[in-house]
């Protein structure tokens, strides 16, 4: 197990996000006072400071915002070959880090602003949100 990939350890404020992933849903939070959707999970709106916030299920649609292709693998990634560490922009606005699946992780295949769709990868007890080309993972 010491050579396995890092597994997120949910905390009370992030638990609904990870529970959503286990159901195959990407959960975001939204401020009930100003309407701002945001990520990462936390109990306060970063736009207006309101603590009146709610969870909702995001569309899972995103575009590729930026990335690197990492040639120095992290623990557990040794056998994957060079892999993209990407940031995607969700259709709802927030951005998140992810990996890109279902497509070669090469500069030629990973074109900025390409349409992506969330899918989930099992990692220990956690379902981890990753993204693949839109239309192939729905």
């Amino acid at each position: 197990m010491s050579m396995s990939k890092a597994v997120p350890e949910p905390t009370p404020e992030t638990r609904p996000f990870w529970d959503g992933c286990a159901r195959g849903e990407l959960m975001l939070q939204r401020c009930r006072a100003c309407g701002q959707p945001y990520f990462y999970p936390r109990p306060i709106c970063p736009a207006c400071g309101s603590t009146d916030v709610e969870w909702f299920t995001a569309s899972g649609q995103a575009t590729l915002y930026s990335y690197v292709i990492n040639h120095r693998p992290a623990r557990g990634f040794e056998d994957d070959g060079p892999y993209a560490i990407a940031v995607v922009e969700l259709a709802e606005g927030p951005r998140m880090m992810t990996n890109i699946v279902g497509i070669p992780n090469t500069p030629e295949d990973l074109v900025l602003d390409m349409a992506l769709q969330v899918t989930f990868e099992q990692r220990g007890d956690i379902s981890l949100p990753v993204f693949g080309p839109a239309g192939e993972n729905q």
Partner: protein
């Protein structure tokens, strides 16, 4: 402008050697830097009544090892720019009367990892939950992520990025203490192995052992010290994000801009006054972001500006004249070395001395565009 009591850097020194120092622990590097800086200022350790450094080992450990018990301490640890913030905080403490003579130390066994703190982990932290699972490996795979977006938005080419390393090597070639001194070409950079596409090895900083320290005190004491005073004319500090994925705009650093604006405003200067510039270069894109954030060029123009030779020897804005993190040294928290070169240039004692370095600006980065500090240093009081 001198609305407040002036503050100077009265002593500045690095460890005797930089590079691969397996016989030095992290704490030893702090001590050696401190001893050298105190000597540079013509003081003794007993004269120090304030201390600032990062964790670890932290101000209590460093002060205790030095046999002193300062009545003012600052343990701000927000990455490699922390030492610039320490100068800012020390200036405030001196003006407030909390301390008269502040010692700021850096030591890091970044390469040999002797007595070094382990890299922080923790799967329940926010980065542990939302970045580490995607295979991040520290700065090389995270600090680098914004650049592809910048390249698409502003047309920066791989050759222009590579030229940042080429230009800085020209400075390093003039500096006997620089780790890498052989001149390189764009072709050499692009032929070096890819570390994290689009970054090649020669576009990434060194990993070394070393340290350094500063003595900060009131400007009205300037005549007491053997070296010419380096006036702290303006300072700024700013923060943006604990995770690269949450950077507001991947094509610009808000922290760089805000810290720069604060420092320039306090000093009462514009970019036209700056004769020497240091920009923390953990990777080749950081000077590009820095030049644009401080307003030396417009968005998208820094790559061509550097590629046209403006920042290399003979250029109109000498930049990273020690060779920078790419060629001089980079222990992990490089900010101390950027300050040291700014001090040397203002004093007129740098290895690759710039003519008329009346005003030097130091732009520090902490984490992955997480934090920033800016110092405006000058030969004359404001």
């Amino acid at each position: 402008m001198s609305r407040e009591r002036g503050v100077i850097i009265a002593g500045a020194a690095e460890t005797d050697a930089l590079g691969k120092l397996p016989d030095h622990s992290t704490l030893q590097l702090h001590i050696e830097g401190a001893v050298n800086a105190v000597a540079d200022a013509g003081l003794t350790m007993r004269d120090i009544d304030g201390i600032a450094t990062v964790n670890s080992p932290g101000p209590v450990q460093v002060a205790h090892a030095l046999g002193i018990t300062p009545a003012w301490m600052d343990g701000t640890a927000v990455g490699g720019t922390s030492f610039l913030l320490h100068v800012r905080h020390a200036a405030a403490a001196i003006r407030a009367g909390y301390a008269t003579t502040v010692l700021i130390t850096h030591g890091e066994s970044g390469r040999s990892r002797v007595g070094a703190a382990p890299w922080p982990r923790g799967g329940s932290s926010i980065p542990g939950q939302f970045e580490a699972p995607y295979g991040t490996t520290g700065p090389t795979s995270t600090f680098t992520i914004p650049l592809l977006r910048y390249m698409k938005e502003y047309g920066l080419t791989q050759e222009q990025l590579a030229y940042v390393a080429v230009a800085q090597r020209k400075w390093a070639a003039r500096n006997p203490r620089a780790m890498f001194r052989d001149l390189i070409t764009v072709e050499d950079v692009l032929a070096s192995r890819i570390v994290a596409y689009p970054f090649h090895l020669l576009e990434c900083c060194l990993v070394t052992d070393g340290g350094g320290a500063l003595i900060v005190t009131a400007a009205d004491r300037a005549a007491e010290f053997p070296k010419p005073p380096v006036h702290v004319l303006g300072t700024g500090e700013a923060m943006e994000t604990p995770m690269i994925s949450q950077m507001v705009d991947f094509t610009e650093s808000q922290a760089f801009r805000q810290a720069g604006q604060a420092a320039f405003a306090e000093a009462g200067i514009t970019t036209a006054d700056v004769r020497h510039m240091m920009i923390y270069d953990a990777f080749a894109h950081v000077p590009i972001y820095g030049l644009e954030a401080l307003g030396f060029v417009k968005k998208g123009e820094a790559g061509p500006f550097i590629a046209d030779g403006n920042t290399e020897p003979g250029g109109r804005l000498p930049l990273n004249t020690n060779g920078g993190g790419l060629s001089y040294t980079h222990t992990g928290m490089y900010g101390m070395f950027a300050i040291q070169e700014g001090v040397r240039q203002v004093r007129g004692e740098a290895a690759a001395q710039v003519p008329d370095a009346e005003i030097s600006v130091i732009l520090g980065n902490g984490g992955m565009f997480a934090t920033s500090g800016v110092l405006v240093l000058g030969r004359q009081a404001g």
